[in-house]
């Protein structure tokens, strides 16, 4: 059922619009959000692999009658293989990532519904628009289409931050938008250079032109387009020099919103990362740039996470730092490393959601995010403490959880590619991540409770506990049986290299 492919984008957009229309009708907003969020993960499961041509505009070569009526310079050349309209491509990568993205999206929406009595429809609108935008980016085979949804995703992310109650939300949102207004046009100019070279914005067409020598890959224009698109990618994913603003964005949103923001960022990271890899994999510069910026991101973010006492910002920095692992996988560029990078991306979505929702419960009960003012909370919520602890273990790469499997694959791929120094750095960063997480966990749960700490006598929303429980089960299952997803990723990567 290839017709279901565009529905993965269309359904959340339509629901988002409806939610905005019924913004003030609380019950309608809640029911509609819940129902659609629970249905969304089913669509990627039911869809068949394949391509969807918008408007039915298949490449000319697929239309024999039309092809015969065209001049020979079109019918016999590369032009006949070029894509005329926007194309969506749905393969194993898209199925796995979108399924888990929608599951995390559902759990974030469920948590929001559980934590708030009144939900503005506009907030749910932003959540669904964010989901639709990154889904379109992952499915699209058109780089300009990706750019458009990239901009929509940024606006949705800013909106999610603005819906929080943090005092500094406007300042952080403005900073993010100011930077985004530089990053976006720079990405667009890079796309413009590619359009000028190839005459198409379809990624498959651009890759065809690059691989078949139709364009000069050592020309300054091609290299310049690489630099510009790479810069736009750094902004969108929060690698240096944008790591600070990205973690600020996470720390200012409500915790369930932060979980979704990180999921959106990871999917943007993977979508644009794969596009860059496909187009520019012939450039030796690509490997150097990817490894340099990923390592810088990991080291800088971790350094800032260690010094941080605000657990929201700490998790924000850890989340941004973990993205570096995905970049390293792309940088190494082998089949194993790319599979590991995609697996790491999936794990990142799940693990950070656990941590944001788990620490969100602390915020819900105490209204405090400074770990020096917290303590002894294991007495109040031992179950949540255990789930958060397991989430932290998964992030640090402790066996047998999913984070361990993806990091092990990444380390193996670095060793196989004669890059032992990278493997050592990855191990060291995992250890420091573990220490940083344990510092926060000890301060919040294990150290004696401060006398002036007031824990509100309210029950933790069941939706939050349910969301965390589902996510931790996924972590354990993927840790024990990683082949459930790695086979699919490996199949996709096989076609990529």
């Amino acid at each position: 059922m290839n017709d279901l492919i565009p529905l993965m984008v269309i359904v959340p957009i339509i629901v988002a619009i409806l939610l905005n229309l019924f913004s003030k009708q609380n019950t309608t907003v809640k029911i509609l959000s819940f129902l659609v969020a629970i249905v969304l993960p089913i669509i990627p499961i039911l869809s068949n692999y394949g391509l969807h041509y918008f408007g039915g505009h298949a490449p000319l070569i697929d239309n024999g009658n039309l092809l015969n009526s065209l001049p020979s310079y079109i019918s016999d050349g590369a032009l006949s293989t070029f894509h005329i309209g926007i194309t969506y491509s749905f393969e194993s990568l898209q199925r796995i990532l979108l399924f888990f993205l929608f599951v995390v999206g559902f759990l974030c929406i469920l948590t929001t519904l559980g934590e708030r009595k009144r939900i503005p429809g506009s907030y749910m609108f932003l959540m669904f628009m964010g989901l639709a935008a990154v889904t379109a980016m992952l499915l699209s085979d058109d780089i300009f289409h990706m750019y458009i949804f990239f901009e929509i995703a940024i606006v949705a992310q800013v909106g999610i931050v603005l819906a929080s109650t943090d005092d500094l939300k406007y300042e952080v949102a403005m900073k993010y938008l100011l930077l985004g207004s530089v990053g976006g046009p720079i990405l667009l100019i890079g796309i413009g250079f590619l359009l000028g070279l190839v005459g198409s914005v379809n990624i498959t067409d651009i890759v065809y032109a690059v691989k078949n020598g139709l364009i000069n890959t050592s020309s300054p224009v091609f290299l310049f387009s690489f630099g510009l698109i790479f810069f736009g990618w750094l902004y969108s994913v929060g690698l240096p020099p944008f790591h600070t603003i990205k973690s600020s964005i996470y720390s200012k949103a409500v915790p369930s919103g932060s979980a979704l923001l990180q999921a959106l960022s990871v999917v943007i990271f993977i979508s644009l990362g794969i596009t860059i890899f496909r187009i520019y994999s012939s450039l030796p510069l690509l490997e150097v740039f990817l490894i340099f910026f990923s390592l810088s991101g990991m080291i800088l973010s971790l350094t800032m996470a260690i010094m941080e006492n605000d657990f929201k910002r700490m998790i924000g920095f850890l989340a941004v730092g973990e993205l570096g692992y995905i970049g390293l996988g792309f940088g190494i560029g082998t089949k194993l490393s790319l599979t590991a990078a995609l697996f790491q991306g999936l794990n990142e979505i799940i693990i950070t959601a656990i941590l944001f929702i788990g620490f969100g419960v602390i915020l819900y009960l105490t209204k405090i995010s400074d770990i020096t003012k917290l303590g002894g909370l294991i007495e109040n919520n031992p179950k949540i403490a255990i789930i958060v602890l397991l989430g932290g273990f998964a992030m640090a790469g402790v066996p047998p959880l999913n984070g361990f499997q993806s990091k092990l694959m990444l380390i193996q791929s670095a060793l196989n590619d004669n890059l032992p120094e990278l493997a050592i750095i990855m191990i060291l960063i995992s250890i420091i991540t573990f220490m940083t997480f344990m510092k926060a966990f000890h301060s919040i749960y294990l150290k004696p409770k401060p006398k002036n700490l007031i824990v509100e006598d309210v029950r933790v929303p069941r939706s939050s506990i349910f969301a965390m429980a589902v996510l931790i089960v996924i972590c354990i299952v993927l840790g024990i049986m990683p082949t459930l997803v790695t086979n699919g990723f490996s199949g996709f990567v096989g076609g990529l290299i």
Binding site: I148, M174, L177, G180, P185, I186, L188, G192, G199
Partner: protein, 121 residues
């Protein structure tokens, strides 16, 4: 006489450089936003420039034209379509930035970026 396409390219480059200057060096947040608009319009103009063809025609296929003649004369329509979308997206982002700037002005009583955004984490 300067080539039209070259002149347009230089103009788009100027827009981008002026915009970058405003975004980086001017402290007033509204002027920063105007600068960012310049960058965006520069990018749009750059795309439009790609579509230009000397002595070209509007890319509408009319009765009496042969496909070969049309293909040799028509401007490239794709960048025009892209820019149209880009303008809409740019306008939305601009509206949000201005709305936030209004809120920040009411909160801080200033439009200075160093005052508003200073050392906020």
């Amino acid at each position: 006489m300067i080539d039209t396409q070259l002149a347009a390219l230089l103009s788009s480059g100027s827009f981008i450089i002026i915009g970058l200057y405003a975004a980086i060096f001017i402290d007033n947040i509204i002027k920063k936003i105007i600068g960012l608009s310049f960058i965006e319009e520069g990018a749009n103009m750059f795309l439009i420039t790609l579509a230009y063809r000397p002595d070209g025609i509007v890319p509408i296929f009319l009765p009496g034209m042969t496909p070969e003649w049309f293909a040799s004369k028509s401007a490239y329509p794709l960048p025009h379509a892209l820019v149209l979308t880009s303008i809409v997206i740019g306008a939305s982002t601009l509206a949000i930035m201005l709305a936030i700037a209004m809120v920040l002005y009411n909160k801080h009583g200033s439009l200075s970026a160093s005052v508003i955004l200073g050392d906020k984490k």
